[in-house]
Symmetry: C2
């Protein structure tokens, strides 16, 4: 399969079926969906009164927050690597 071929995968997230498309392997896409499902369950267990829309928005907020923390750490070690290589 060519790396740029579009793949459609049906996944179950928070009890609903979604079709996601991407150029990654179906396994990767199912793993990503599983992480989102788990995060939504976690947030739901803390705030059981949230509707799915709010839950999904807060899950996205949480994911981007974690992305930014990882990016900071990534840039820190990249700088360290570049200093050593100089």
């Amino acid at each position: 399969m060519s790396g740029q071929e579009k793949v459609r995968v049906s996944v179950l997230i928070h009890g609903r079926q979604y079709t996601i498309t991407g150029t990654e392997s179906p396994d990767h896409m199912k793993e990503v969906a599983g992480i989102v499902d788990e995060k939504m369950r976690e947030i739901n267990s803390i705030n059981p009164n949230l509707n799915t829309e709010t839950l999904a928005v807060l899950t996205a907020v949480n994911s981007i927050h974690e992305y930014m923390k990882l990016q900071e750490e990534y840039e820190r070690i990249l700088q360290e690597l570049n200093r050593i290589k100089e």
Copy 2:
């Protein structure tokens, strides 16, 4: 402000007000909300018929996918750094 103090910030994401809580600065939380809002707008422009719930779930899926890509790259350079340091 102590690093663990809970902060509540009201943010506008895809035309709706959400209260998000965290231990980060309000500026960081608003930046995160702005990225989520932008991602939802991007996905909405490609698929204008999606409801907000689906849009938010797909935004979360996309965010986790990008997190996993960054994590792979992070682990790659971390290994390189550890090899050099040995």
